[in-house]
Symmetry: C2
Subunit: 360 residues, 2 copies
Amino acid sequence: MDRIHNFSAGPAVLPESVIREAQEDLWSHAGSGLGICECSHRSPQFDVVIDNARDRIHRLLGCDADQEVLFLHGGARTQFFMLPMNLLRGGRATYIDTGKWSDGAIDDAKLYGTVDVPFSSKSTNYDRVPGPGTLPAVPDGTVYLHYTSNNTVAGTEFHHIPDAGSAWLACDMSSDFLSRPVDGSKFSFIYAGAQKNVGPSGTTVVVIRKSLLEHCDTALPPMLRYGLHVKKGSMYNTPATFPIYVIEKVTAWIEAQGGLEAVEARNVAQANAIYGVVDGSDFWSGKAERASRSLMNVTFTTGDDDRDMRFVQEAAAAGLSGLKGHRSVGGLRASIYNAQTDAAVEALVSFMHDFEKRNG
Amino acid sequence: MDRIHNFSAGPAVLPESVIREAQEDLWSHAGSGLGICECSHRSPQFDVVIDNARDRIHRLLGCDADQEVLFLHGGARTQFFMLPMNLLRGGRATYIDTGKWSDGAIDDAKLYGTVDVPFSSKSTNYDRVPGPGTLPAVPDGTVYLHYTSNNTVAGTEFHHIPDAGSAWLACDMSSDFLSRPVDGSKFSFIYAGAQKNVGPSGTTVVVIRKSLLEHCDTALPPMLRYGLHVKKGSMYNTPATFPIYVIEKVTAWIEAQGGLEAVEARNVAQANAIYGVVDGSDFWSGKAERASRSLMNVTFTTGDDDRDMRFVQEAAAAGLSGLKGHRSVGGLRASIYNAQTDAAVEALVSFMHDFEKRNG
């Protein structure tokens, strides 16, 4: 069976070479005679997998010795409450509101302290993120600044790292994790659901500074304590072994490509190809403000709901899947995470030209 | 590559036919051209998967219309606190302490109310569960009775359902879930980590009575509210799609075998074959009291630590993997969940006879 072009916003396309390896390893992992889903998480066989996954992420992000990489359960959504539950504790945090996900994180944080929101693009349907240097200084006494680096729904992305002042810097990187070079050492807390750029759904990568652990609430149930997960190397309970296995393969694939610089170059080229069509004619318009455009989720429209819907259907019939925009913004969306193929993007560009010719 | 015989306590062996299907579907699921890890959880394609998985579990357990099947994140460990956090709320619960897992559940429950423990086999290294009718009546005003139906560490299992009186009945069925006919309608709350009998690690099946939802704490973060997960059909956030996919395949496999009666018959035959060797000579002894023996985890010993260790090593060399007992009880353990093959059990029985001959 041939694969079709997959523009799903997540769970999303994975590198074909990784899928091929996973097929083999499902039956017998690394020549062990045990399938990767069937071996104990406490076996030397799995130790190699999780250690490599942890090390590769640490290395790709340029983390320092104080930073620990964890694989936790519950999706990024669980970090929405687990972070403030552990670290806010009645204090004050700054959240930048750039979409559905920041908004959800803000709601959860309010359960545990005071939340300042110096920027929200809600009134313009989240079509932008704040530019560099445009936000007021984070107030004194702020525990952390939280932002969402890429917004899958509206198709926006930060192209700078906000200044947290003396507060800790926390980022939900779910949808652009490991898609470009980032100085990970600037962050106190990073989290990312795996299912966009690095693996299947079911595990969330957390990068936490060990120096934060002494500030965490220790009266919580064990599963909600970062310190315990650090101490146990993400093995306090059975982790989601298959997603972690795939993350190890994907991060190896990133390194083999030439690292994050090489991955970014391809991501930029793919995004430019699609934005080029969008900007090249009045038939199309982009959904996000230009300076805020995402390299991961290209949101656009033909300006007509029925025509957009026809685009989605005809594209699907032509083997281009998952191009419908999120229901809250409508229109069209092409998600082009790390593993998106040049062939898929070329096919999309060609289909867009063709569709315009037939409907323009 | 040939597979070896896998006696891992979990993640554990899966049906080979399911692995074969999963290999295909990783590349292109059900002829869609999209890999099962790469399709949106909100696609019609995945709806069929999760709906079937939910329906099959509901049917196999004989649930009634008030019971809802959920696929949640976080492992059974997360249910240790999520259940009392939602439903105990300062009240009184009864927990039967039959091992490491009940003990962990008790610790978490104490954070949210008063815990009565009318039975504990801790002093005999958890070698038994209470017999039918041996426990005092659950005190008036008790919110729920909680027990662990199978104990992987010591190798014990309940062969009856404890009487909860007028309290709700809650059970951690992680390690014998869907291994034998159970009247699921007797329970108010069931939970089971997938990685023993029904799938890879990364998702936890919860069966909850909808009539309980009105008693749940609604001031919790969304991810910790059962009501929201019921309302959203386990799709409040991205679920662990691959484990759910495998669960659907495994439950279909159970139904194709002839259902839980057929599965139980094979489980009993396999357990009897190994216990038969253990009981057949003074060379071996069982770790668990006879009436409490598990059909899932057969714990035994040669009575000598060094000899046990040699058994594990020689068995591994002969292609029988994962036979070392849990560190807290030592000795040997053969885990024979649903997907364990008769060939593996025959090979183990034969190896045990041979080992005894050489060392007896």
